[in-house]
């Protein structure tokens, strides 16, 4: 790359626009809805800066600016639903766009350097691209930020130009940006929450005016006002869980059947393998579903579909935020150890909010397992459009009557659990549910230690 090339490129840069499109968020996602715009026409944005929030039927996410520049046009409004690939907005780059951080992808000539030419035509001048969207506040020109400051700012969605620096020459130090976070009570911008329903943390109340601060939360046409945690309103995730659960109860003819199972062998085997009882219950459930495939199915209106694969949903609590049901696809192909590993991984990713849309799609049957607090029975609500959900509660030592092969009864202390199956009476009848539960029980009690 010669410097003359660079010069001519930056000098003759015509103002161009780059399209921002509805992203593909997983193979099963075809369309998305704009939930909120974080920018307005005329705002300057940095590459990768979030410009809007979108939700799909599976997940919620943010759309980053593909390039730096100025928002030239917002095409899709809030609450509008469009297909993947549709243009949401346009960003103007180039000479007229002011301090565009990066040139549009088309700008560098083939064989050019990997990094975009800096605006100063001195090759090798800057190793790093300039910091995002800096507002020159010091006489020496634009401010530079250390990596940790940029990271914290990105995590908390902070406009660094609003942060007062106390370092040398007004430099923003880590403690400055942390103090800014504290002072403004800015919620860390959580990565998108993946669940059957869209969810984003509630916007924090607009912070008291800070000199020069852009209050990002007050985006135009934000989702219907929902008060923060203090205000008593429900978070979006809670609302969505509520709607989902209520719809299930309104739709299905829900009935719950229980069976007791002796977990002695499972307890011994799981100690040996170092896995949870849940993995054994999952394996036994999968085998019972293969025996009674009527429960591995979807019922949508009048349409009843038995599914060949067992795609097993596992309910994962997210604490106060709610819960999510990641799916182990083709779970019938996994051993107990394999299931245990997948459950661990999905639970971790659920808590990290790093599940993809496909991770929560396609479940054919669900297991919920809130038993570690000692509760013994529940009436779980079916995860629509599935027809059954199995509830595993605590394993409790109880006196039980055992009958030996000679028919002699004795009382023994055994680790027992009560498995609860909620099933949809529209799709099947009580005999089948009891047979299925007996199948699960038989397998749990026959686990090879």
């Amino acid at each position: 790359m010669s410097s003359s090339t660079t010069e001519s490129l930056s000098a003759s840069h015509p103002p161009t626009t780059v399209d921002v499109t509805m992203p593909q968020m997983g193979v099963s996602v075809a369309e998305g809805t704009v939930v909120a715009w974080r920018v307005e026409v005329g705002d300057r944005v940095a590459a990768e800066q979030t410009i809007c929030e979108i939700s799909t039927d599976k997940i919620d996410t943010e759309v980053p600016a593909p390039v730096g520049g100025v928002v030239a046009e917002i095409i899709v409004g809030v609450e509008e639903t469009v297909e993947v690939g549709v243009v949401l907005a346009r960003i103007a780059t180039g000479a007229d766009a002011g301090d565009a951080i990066l040139p549009p992808p088309s700008a560098p000539a083939p064989g050019d350097a990997i990094l975009p030419p800096p605006s100063a035509p001195e090759p090798g001048d800057a190793i790093l691209p300039p910091p995002p969207a800096p507002e020159p506040t010091s006489p020496s020109g634009r401010r530079r930020y250390s990596p940790v400051v940029q990271r914290i700012a990105a995590e908390h969605d902070i406009d660094l130009s609003a942060v007062v620096g106390t370092g040398r020459d007004g430099r923003v130090r880590k403690q400055d940006v942390l103090a800014f976070v504290d002072a403004n009570g800015a919620e860390p911008a959580e990565p998108p929450m993946h669940i059957e329903s869209p969810y984003r943390p509630d916007p924090s109340p607009a912070p008291a005016a800070v000199a020069g601060a852009r209050v990002e939360a007050a985006s135009p046409g934000a989702a219907p006002a929902s008060p923060g945690a203090d205000g008593g309103g429900l978070s979006r995730m809670r609302r969505q869980i509520g709607q989902h659960m209520k719809r299930s109860l309104d739709t299905a003819a829900t009935c719950t059947t229980w069976i007791e199972a002796d977990m002695g062998r499972v307890e011994a085997a799981r100690a040996r393998l170092g896995v949870t009882a849940l993995a054994f219950v999952a394996r036994a459930t999968i085998e019972a579903l293969r025996e009674y495939p009527a429960l591995n199915a979807w019922l949508e209106g009048d349409r009843y579909t038995r599914v060949d694969d067992v795609n097993l949903g596992i309910a994962v609590s997210l604490g106060d935020d709610g819960l999510i049901v990641p799916v182990i696809h083709r779970a019938h192909e996994l051993s107990v150890e394999g299931l245990a590993a997948r459950i661990r991984e999905l639970a971790r990713r659920a808590r990290d909010r790093s599940l993809s849309a496909d991770d929560v799609a396609g479940g054919t049957f669900t297991i919920t397992n809130p038993g570690r607090y000692g509760s013994i029975m529940a009436t779980p609500i079916i995860n629509q459009p599935q027809v059954g959900i199995l509830d595993l509660e605590a394993v409790v030592k109880r006196p039980v009557v055992l009958t030996d092969p000679q028919g002699t009864d004795s009382i023994a202390i055994r680790p027992m659990t009560i498995l609860g199956l909620s099933w949809d009476h529209r799709a099947l009848d009580g005999v089948l549910s009891a047979q299925f539960l007996a199948g699960v029980k038989r397998r749990l009690e026959g686990v090879v230690v």
Binding site: S146, P147, V148, G167, R168, R171, R173, K174, Q175
Partner: protein, 321 residues
């Protein structure tokens, strides 16, 4: 627990090993009848005999070469270089023979080379060096450098038990200056770093004699919360501990008593640049001896070695950044 000096801790570890394991033997210049130049092996020849506490000729290459041979046939020799500086005479045996044996022939070489290192006592250019980075650069060798009496004993036990050749950097200036509680008997200190003092505003990373310098320099820096991380082991380098400190503190000063270029601290700085970039809130600052031999002259020596004032100044500068 017994209170002992750094030197007594090293003696104690050697004595315990000689008593516990007949494969252990000690060899070096004047380690027998004279008890060692620093008296680390004082009284050993009387207790263990000349076969296990061997006086050798003034030939570092022969000392290490013999030790390698003994190790290959099942012994656990501990060689003393009278001064770490003299290791250059045994370089080939250590680097090319001991360090490569496992890779070439699949044979373990469980030797320990004790290297009394470091300056600060007007020893001049041949008796003050810190050659540890030479061995960090050479695959097949481990390198440890204790800063406390307890670590001196625990690391020496671990080094003798280790199946690899281990360079044990014992700092001469700490021998009689550092005292501390040391557990009784044989115990191993892992080859990992140790947080000498926790903090949150800045971390000083050091090892050997520089740990004390770092602690003293940062004991009261206008109320700033300064962490001091004692590396203890240079190979293997405890990357997790370094990255953990950097993640919490975001500002880093690295202190080497060795000459600046390609010192252990350079490796630590490279690690941080590569793996902790997004945790940094300022440049990684190094304090080390400039690339000159250590002068005899006491004031000149004090001028080149990293001292409390230089570390203090570096920390102040970085805190204000």
């Amino acid at each position: 627990m017994t209170t002992m000096t750094y030197l007594q801790a090293i003696s104690s570890a050697l004595r315990d090993e000689l008593r516990a394991d007949e494969r252990v033997l000690v060899m070096g210049e004047d380690v027998g009848v004279f008890g060692g130049a620093f008296k680390v092996t004082d009284g050993f020849v009387e207790e263990f005999g000349g076969d296990r506490v061997m006086d050798t000729p003034l030939a570092e290459s022969a000392i290490i070469g013999c030790a390698v041979g003994a190790a290959v046939v099942g012994m656990r020799p501990v060689c003393e270089m009278q001064f770490a500086d003299f290791i250059s005479c045994g370089f080939d045996q250590l680097v090319n023979v001991a360090g490569r044996m496992h890779y070439r022939q699949g044979l373990a070489v469980p030797i320990v080379v004790r290297l009394p290192s470091g300056g600060g006592f007007s020893g001049g250019p041949f008796h003050s060096q810190n050659p540890e980075a030479l061995f960090m650069h050479s695959p097949g060798l481990k390198v440890v450098a204790p800063s406390t009496a307890a670590d001196a004993k625990g690391l020496l036990h671990a080094a003798i038990h280790d199946p690899n050749p281990v360079c044990f950097m014992e700092h001469k200036h700490l021998y009689r200056r550092v005292k501390g509680d040391v557990p009784e008997g044989v115990f191993e200190t892992p080859f990992t770093a140790r947080v000498a003092r926790p903090g949150s505003d800045l971390v000083v990373i050091a090892y050997g004699a520089m740990v004390d310098v770092a602690l003293e320099a940062t004991s009261d820096l206008e109320g700033a919360s300064i962490e001091v991380l004692d590396l203890r082991s240079l190979v293997p380098l405890d990357e997790d501990a370094v990255l953990d400190s950097v993640a919490r503190c975001s500002k880093v000063v690295i202190v080497d008593e060795a000459n600046m270029t390609c010192a252990a601290g350079a490796q630590v700085a490279a690690l941080i640049a590569e793996k902790a970039f997004e945790d940094l809130d300022g440049p990684v600052v190094r304090v080390a001896t400039p690339d000159v031999p250590i002068p005899f002259s006491p004031p000149l020596e004090q001028a080149v070695l990293p001292g409390v004032d230089r570390v203090k100044e570096a920390c102040r500068e970085l805190l204000n950044y």
